[in-house]
């Protein structure tokens, strides 16, 4: 196992840990806003760690750039969705 592989295992493992933490928050936190908080924070970080861990394994440069783009779009989407869900919760409207 090369150093790069070790690096990948480490970061992906860390990422999975953060995913688990985020999910735990989703399941255990008392209200919708804090659950949202847990998801948005932990999952974005977790995805970032997984992407960073996968970078050395991906083909350079296109594969790596695709991985980074995936993270970027996920960030953008979860930020927006977080905002929208938050606004909906504040309005007391569970669906829109």
């Amino acid at each position: 196992m090369s150093v790069l592989d070790l690096y990948s295992y480490l970061l992906i493992g860390l990422g999975v840990l953060f995913f688990c933490t985020g999910t735990l928050g989703l399941l255990r936190f008392p209200d919708a806003l804090s659950r949202l908080h847990a998801l948005a924070k932990a999952d974005n970080l977790a995805l970032g760690l997984v992407v960073l861990g996968l970078l050395p394994q991906a083909s350079w440069p296109l594969g790596a750039m695709k991985l980074l783009a995936v993270w970027l779009f996920a960030l953008l989407a979860s930020t927006t969705v977080g905002q929208l869900v938050g606004e909906a919760i504040r309005r007391g409207d569970p669906f829109r």
Partner: protein, 343 residues
């Protein structure tokens, strides 16, 4: 047990669990959420089966677009039952019965169980390796100039099926529009207007579409040689259009708009025109002259991509409604004005 088998087993268990949740969940919202998750996991399963074309379609249409439609239906029926029934004294659209009788439920469960058991048994008896037309497709594919056998089947060998499928979409849209009220006919669908003008959504509506449109076009373009094609690309474009529409950055076109209708029928009409030209220049209806087959197929796919995008987006937008401002007693969404008032 190899790691991949372990992962596949995990996928299977998640799929079965989600399927159970969809069936058993009482609130429709939870069932729909589980359904969307099911579609995504199913897409992963398709990737594992090396059916990337199917996976893309499952994720885009099966989970994304169908999920969106179902979610819209859930939201609408909740509003409808809560507000219409109480305030306007109307009966909800679907009578709320206490559910089917226990006998009927049992009968349905038995039938489903029987079919599942039969399928499980029969699938094990299927010949191995599975008989297929793949060698034939591979042999004939060079004639078409395409690299992706799936596109070869969809646009060359079984082009009539694809033509009819693309037309089904148009008729489904006519069916959705037919639910409009007569005075609202010709107007704009308004279901997307309910969404609040949120700064975050506007930003996303400005940032994402350039990239998303590029991605949609890429999916259509690459379809000739790799997984992708008109349905996947069209769904992507539809999603971008819906994003722009629900962010309030553009207005939903009126259903009377001839440009919109030509956009929706353009793909199938071009497909038909190329089909007829096959009588003059190729082996028959829906045949392509060998030298021209790839450019013709790309032209059809391009027009289909746009038509599918327009039709899918309009399916989500729903039937036309009368503008609420001109309506002294706004019955479609009485609470909408309330929200506007709060802001």
């Amino acid at each position: 047990m190899t790691p991949t088998l372990f992962a596949d087993l995990g996928l299977l268990i998640i799929l079965l669990g989600l399927a159970l949740l969809i069936t058993a969940a009482r609130p429709a919202f939870i069932a729909v959420a589980a359904y969307m998750a099911y579609g995504l996991v199913m897409a992963l399963a398709w990737v594992r089966l090396a059916a990337v074309d199917v996976a893309l379609t499952e994720a885009a249409i099966g989970s994304g677009l169908t999920g969106l439609l179902l979610l819209g239906a859930v939201a609408w029926s909740q509003r409808h039952t809560q507000f219409q029934a109480r305030r306007l004294g109307l009966r909800p659209g679907i009578p709320r019965r206490a559910g089917a009788g226990r006998g009927l439920t049992l009968l349905v469960a038995l039938a489903c169980g029987g079919v599942s058991a039969g399928l499980a048994w029969v699938v094990l008896t299927l010949p191995e390796p599975a008989p297929s037309q793949v060698p034939l497709v591979q042999a004939a594919l060079p004639i078409t100039g395409l690299g992706n056998p799936v596109t070869g089947v969809l646009l060359v060998f079984r082009a009539i099926d694809t033509l009819l499928e693309s037309v089904v979409l148009v008729f489904a849209l006519v069916g959705v529009w037919s639910l409009a009220s007569d005075p609202a006919w010709g107007g704009r669908p308004r279901s997307l207007h309910v969404v609040q003008h949120s700064g975050a959504l506007v930003l996303l509506g400005q940032l994402l579409p350039p990239v998303g449109i590029l991605m949609g076009l890429y999916l259509f373009w690459v379809g000739a040689d790799a997984p992708g094609g008109a349905f996947q690309g069209g769904t992507m474009l539809a999603a971008m259009w819906l994003l722009v529409l629900s962010a309030g950055l553009a207005e939903v076109p009126a259903v009377a708009s001839r440009r919109l209708r030509l956009l929706i029928t353009g793909g199938p009409l071009l497909f038909l025109a190329v089909g007829f030209s096959g009588w003059a220049f190729a082996a028959g209806f829906l045949g392509y002259p060998p030298a021209w087959s790839k450019p013709l197929i790309l032209a059809i796919e391009a027009a289909l991509t746009l038509s599918i995008a327009a039709a899918l987006a309009m399916l989500v937008a729903g039937p036309p409604e009368r503008p609420t401002a001109a309506d002294p007693q706004p019955d479609p969404q009485p609470e909408r004005n309330q929200q506007r008032g709060h802001r």
